[in-house]
């Protein structure tokens, strides 16, 4: 089979696998988020936490619980990193410096998993599994919990209750994330991913040198890194590392894992609002954007567009693993930047201007196609709210989405949401570029160097975590700045989503009539896609013009 046929077949198999799991997983998630039955182990967790599993919270209370949990998580992880030398399984690693510890704690709590450190050189096993990997579970659950409140906002009427944070969190972790992670962890081990508690293991190499082979509970962390769209690798090279991603097969499994929840959540949405067509419309937009991006990046890489180095080498092979090649690398790169995953199996920094620029643009879309666990769906639903608002006006009615009116209050929260991330990206990048010292962190010269900074801020603000890794970001300035950007980029939008959910839940739904804008037809799918591309395109066009566009158009 040729590269092209294999590449298409791989994409087709991935789509088929996702389509197959879409319904059962989406349905299971809907069940988990709506049932009022607790499992016994969940009751134990509630008792251990001292929380009431039967309460239904108002949105501010939900938010307070969420923020308290995230704040304590950040604090706990920070302390863990600072004190790791006093703990078991530290492998003799030193305490993580304060700025890097803050950056890392913020990064994992916000589901970003930006890594300014090299895992194999910085972290002990206990910190990885009981500190970082725990956040992989809970931060993913927090994202889904937030979108659950938004969906409840659409489905509930005349109530101020949006759910129970502790219940959502616990159930998502125990009933969804943990079982899937467990199954795939065993699969990954069978396929070659390591799972042990060894330290570095020295071998005398064939050529007579010495090599220290690392150990660690990698497979158990790998699955949740992808399933929870976290992306924080056990090792610095992330999913390019052969111990994390040893073969073409594991590569496809990893891509599948990082897409499966985000692509299933629209089904959950459709099931919960009682009209699966609404979910199909949303997932269609996601698939369209994802597929277009896959085609664009793959084509750019295959044809070495505007890449002198690629032409000199004969292929865009720099930064890509031989066992994956261009097709599998591009597929991973697009999937990871269109979700908030940020795991990488190749060096995005060495992609063509068009391909690399596309990965930046993917994140700029707000990571909505399909986006992070939960955050992708609420991101696209907010954009749908904006699209419905403008389109709803054009049909001559006060715009309404799923029977809920979009009034000043709803538009305030939606507007603040879409304002937050671009503001963080652009102001952050503007500051970084304004200081000569921070500019010097770039590895590459010219527009590509600027792209590295733009990528870093875009990645942090959108909680992606991947990088144009040439940027030397382990400095006090970047650690602190990006840490703050990640926290704001995660929790400010959540505040607005929860407020919107509360505001929607309080409404009496409007009946659907012929005068109602239908939000499940191709027309709306086209409209939403257009609004997403235009709003994002207009926001970032000047910045992109000076980065990837300037690099690519020469």
């Amino acid at each position: 089979m040729g590269d092209t046929a294999a590449g298409w077949l791989q994409a087709a198999v991935l789509v088929a696998a996702l389509a197959l799991s879409h319904r059962p997983l989406g349905g299971a998630l809907a069940h988990v988020l709506t049932t009022d039955r607790h499992w016994r182990i969940e009751r134990l967790v509630y008792r251990a936490g001292g929380v009431n599993g039967d309460a239904d919270q108002r949105w501010p209370a939900y938010l307070r619980s969420l923020l308290a949990f995230s704040f304590m998580s950040t604090l706990f992880l920070y302390a863990f990193l600072r004190l790791q030398d006093h703990l078991l399984l530290s492998l003799g690693r030193k305490p993580v410096p304060a700025d890097l510890a803050f950056n890392t704690a913020a990064s994992f709590v916000t589901n970003t998993n930006w890594q300014a450190y090299a895992g194999e050189a910085t972290m002990g096993h206990l910190v990885q599994m009981a500190g970082l990997a725990v956040q992989n579970f809970v931060s993913a659950a927090v994202g889904i919990a937030v979108v659950a409140t938004l969906i409840r906002g659409f489905t509930r009427k005349r109530t101020d209750r949006v759910g129970n944070f502790w219940v959502d969190l616990t159930r998502l972790v125990l009933r969804v994330l943990l079982p899937i992670s467990f199954v795939f962890a065993v699969v990954l081990v069978a396929a070659g991913v390591i799972q042990n508690f060894h330290g570095a293991h020295a071998v005398a190499t064939l050529a007579g040198g010495r090599q220290n082979l690392p150990g660690g509970p990698v497979a158990s962390q790998e699955t949740i890194k992808l399933l929870g769209t976290n992306g924080g690798g056990f090792f610095s090279a992330n999913s390019a590392h052969p111990f994390e991603n040893p073969s073409g097969l594991t590569n496809l499994i990893e891509i599948y894992l990082l897409l499966v929840i985000p692509f299933s959540l629209p089904r959950t949405f459709g099931a919960m609002v009682g009209d699966v067509r609404q979910g199909y419309a949303v997932v269609t937009v996601m698939v369209l954007l994802w597929a277009a991006s896959v085609v664009l990046v793959t084509a750019n890489e295959l044809y070495r567009v505007s890449s002198p180095a690629g032409h000199a080498a004969g292929a865009m092979a720099e930064g890509k693993e031989t066992r994956f090649g261009i097709w599998s690398s591009a597929l991973f790169a697009v999937s990871t930047t269109l979700t908030s995953c940020g795991a990488v199996n190749s060096a995005h920094d060495s992609y063509t201007p068009g391909g690399g620029g596309m990965t930046i643009f993917n994140m700029m879309l707000g990571e909505i196609a399909p986006g992070g666990t939960g955050s992708g769906l609420y991101g696209i639903l907010i954009l749908a709210v904006v699209a419905v608002f403008v389109a709803g006006l054009m049909v001559g009615r006060t715009p309404e989405y799923l029977g809920k009116k979009l009034r000043g209050q709803e538009m305030r929260y939606a507007s603040l949401y879409i304002l937050t991330t671009p503001a963080l990206v652009l102001v952050g990048a503007g500051l970084a570029m304004a200081f000569p010292g921070e500019r010097a962190a770039m590895l590459n010269p010219g527009p590509h160097g600027f792209s590295e900074v733009l990528y870093a801020l875009t990645s942090a603000a959108n909680n992606n975590g991947s990088a144009f890794a040439g940027l030397s970001a382990d400095t006090v300035w970047y650690n602190t700045g990006l840490g703050v950007v990640m926290l704001l980029g995660r929790f400010l939008p959540m505040v607005f989503v929860l407020a919107l959910a509360g505001s929607l839940a309080g409404q009496q739904p409007v009946p659907v009539t012929a005068g109602t804008l239908p939000t499940h037809r191709p027309q709306f799918i086209g409209l939403l896609t257009g609004v997403i591309l235009i709003v994002v395109g207009l926001t970032y066009f000047p910045a992109l013009a000076l980065g990837p566009l300037a690099e690519g158009l020469r």
Binding site: A121, F182, P242, F324, V344, L443, N444
Partner: protein, 226 residues
Amino acid sequence: MARTTLPTALRHHLAALRMLLALTVITGVGYPLLVTGIAQAGLSEQANGSLLTTHGTAVASRLIGQNFALPARHPGDPHEVPRPDPGWFQPRPSAGGYDPGNSGASNLGPTNPLLTATVRARRAALAAFDGVPPAAVPADAVTGSGSGLDPAISPAYAYQQVRRVARARRLTPARVRRLVTRQLHGRDLGFLGQPYVNVVELNQALAEEARPGPRRPQARTGLTDS
């Protein structure tokens, strides 16, 4: 005010911490221990790094690439450029020198003149080293991988090295070529990833095929980045 809100806020955060600890016990301790237990019990070969052994001692992980360079002329000089050993199949250039403690890519951009120059220099050096026309050198031979630990090279690059290795090892090229052919990996399941040759496994097979002959250093330029 303070008397009522402060304890409430504190209670809130205390509950949050207790929930975090409860979930940490389950997902951060129980879960990895369980997976490790199963892995070590049933899949210990893979779980411990898919090690390759020669005479019972581990010499490599089949997943992690290695350097096949000549011994350093000035040990301790960090700037010394390693010279490839013509008696071994050479892996791809590595940004981290195949040090698993330092995985990662070069991150050089597609328009970076330094990368273009490096690629050109590698191409010229390899063409001379392997005795092939520069245009024939495949892309993976002149570019660094994403992990810096890539154990695989393209079949084309493996075959390109056959003549040089055979000469250095005083084996017939056909014999070496057979070795390579035996080590060809197709795509996973026929359509996943790319066909490749695992250099580490190939070199182990090579080592078992024949004792290495006297080494004649020929390299003019370094082939790996530091």
